[in-house]
């Protein structure tokens, strides 16, 4: 047992490469969150809509995103769309899969937040002469984002962790992809993945911490 020499120095030399990968990871996570939040607002509103044509697709989206593995959703984007002649690169498939997942989970979060805002807020806004979209944007949405802020932060951490799944569809420029690339060439699996784990941990913690600071800045009421 343990007749193995750990070679940390050799692995640490790859740190710049890994950090470049970490930037791509962060980039994908941020983009998937931005698009996911926008889609989730639409889905949350659509789920509450009286029209079946609006609520049924939204419900289907939410159910699929929550009841199948995130990896399944990425496979759908990468392999599944091939049935329609759409061939997404690993990067786009990963982005699409995570965005789909984020949107579904956040839609539920936002829907819960919308239910927590008294209906009288909308009435008050409408009675001041605001059209409904303006009232939603100026009065309801800011309150919704505050209520949903913590779960949204958690989803951001999830998005970062989910980016690691890209490696299974051939993604090789994010942190997990770069790590695997180096691993295949050097076979120092444990060392290189341990460093990647530390980087993921630090990113996740910085996001959580950053979100807390942001919250104290944003929500002073």
């Amino acid at each position: 047992m343990f007749n193995y020499t750990f070679q940390w120095r050799q692995a640490l030399q790859k740190l710049p490469l890994l950090l470049d990968g970490a930037l791509v990871t962060l980039q994908i996570a941020l983009m998937s969150m931005a698009m996911g939040i926008a889609l989730a607002v639409v889905l949350a509103v659509a789920r509450n809509a009286r029209s079946r044509w609006a609520s049924a697709p939204a419900t289907a989206w939410v159910e699929v995103s929550r009841n199948t593995p995130a990896l399944f959703q990425i496979y759908m984007a990468h392999f599944g769309l091939g049935s329609f002649g759409i061939h997404l690169s690993p990067y786009l498939a990963l982005l699409a899969g995570i965005t789909f997942n984020n949107a579904g989970y956040l839609a539920e979060t936002f829907r819960g937040a919308l239910r927590a805002i008294p209906g009288t807020q909308l009435r008050a806004a409408r009675s001041l002469g605001m059209p409904s979209i303006q009232a939603f944007r100026l009065i309801i949405m800011p309150q919704m984002f505050r209520i949903a802020f913590l779960p949204t932060t958690n989803q951001m951490v999830w998005a970062i962790l989910m980016t690691s799944l890209g490696v299974t569809v051939g993604m090789n420029i994010d942190l997990a992809g770069v790590t695997q690339d180096i691993n295949v060439r050097s076979f120092r699996t444990f060392e290189i993945f341990a460093i990647a784990a530390v980087i993921y941990y630090l990113i996740a913690k910085s996001v959580t911490l950053g979100a807390r600071l942001l919250a104290s800045r944003l929500f002073r009421y």
């Binding site: 593995p69 995130a70 990896l71 690691s164 997990a176």
Partner: protein, 217 residues
């Protein structure tokens, strides 16, 4: 209606994959729940400072991608010369991963039992162990169950990642068929339907238990 090359034996291949998914999930949830109970009780009864090492380790399990954890554990067991089959490695990693979330559920549920209730139990002369067994656990169980069901369903989904260690679970089985039959969308929809079939009964069972308990309250 729909021409497919998917044969019955292919379908059985998927079902076998689903069996692997269920097996990994079962061991992971069982092990993770037992560990989670232990850690949760410790967390609820020990000061934050004393539990700090535990809190940190469990937080790592929740802040590092599962895929990385699986690779690391597999590499570690190879280095240590344990010669563990991927199935065992997968179950152990997933169990630890599950325990990290389960600990939070258990701690939250125990904290949800009002202090006055526990004081009342202790003032009747119940020991700490009796208080825990007869008062705290039955009450906490009701609080914890919905989250625990959610966790189980989550682990079932996350167990797809064990395909990276070479296990042929449901998603990997689907992927193999996709490569062979070149009908990606159809096969993946079948795979998704099987995931749905597996999670739906558990979700329903949880919903019913919750409802029955609420009626008894």
């Amino acid at each position: 209606m729909f021409d497919t090359a998917l044969t019955l034996s292919d379908l059985m291949f998927l079902v076998k994959g689903a069996g692997m998914t269920l097996a990994v999930t079962f061991f992971a949830v069982t092990g993770g729940t037992l560990l989670g109970l232990l850690f949760g009780v410790i967390r609820a009864n020990v000061s934050v400072w004393a539990a700090l090492p535990l809190i940190f380790v469990l937080d790592v399990f929740r802040s590092v991608p599962l895929l990385i954890q699986l690779v690391l554990a597999n590499a570690f067991q190879a280095i240590a010369g344990l010669n563990m089959p991927p199935f065992a490695t997968s179950c152990i990693v997933l169990a630890l991963y599950t325990s990290a979330y389960c600990t939070e559920i258990v701690r939250g549920a125990i904290d949800a039992v009002p202090t006055v209730t526990r004081r009342a139990a202790r003032s009747l002369g119940l020991s700490w162990g009796q208080d825990m067994t007869y008062v705290v656990f039955p009450m906490a169980l009701r609080v914890a169950l919905p989250s625990w069901i959610g966790l189980t369903l989550g682990v079932m989904k996350d167990s797809a990642l064990v395909l990276w260690l070479g296990l042929i679970e449901l998603l990997r089985a689907g992927q193999i068929l996709v490569t062979r039959l070149q009908e990606p969308m159809f096969i993946l929809i079948v795979v998704g339907a099987i995931y749905f079939l597996m999670s739906f009964p558990i979700a329903r069972l949880g919903g019913q238990l919750e409802k029955r308990w609420r009626e008894n309250d």
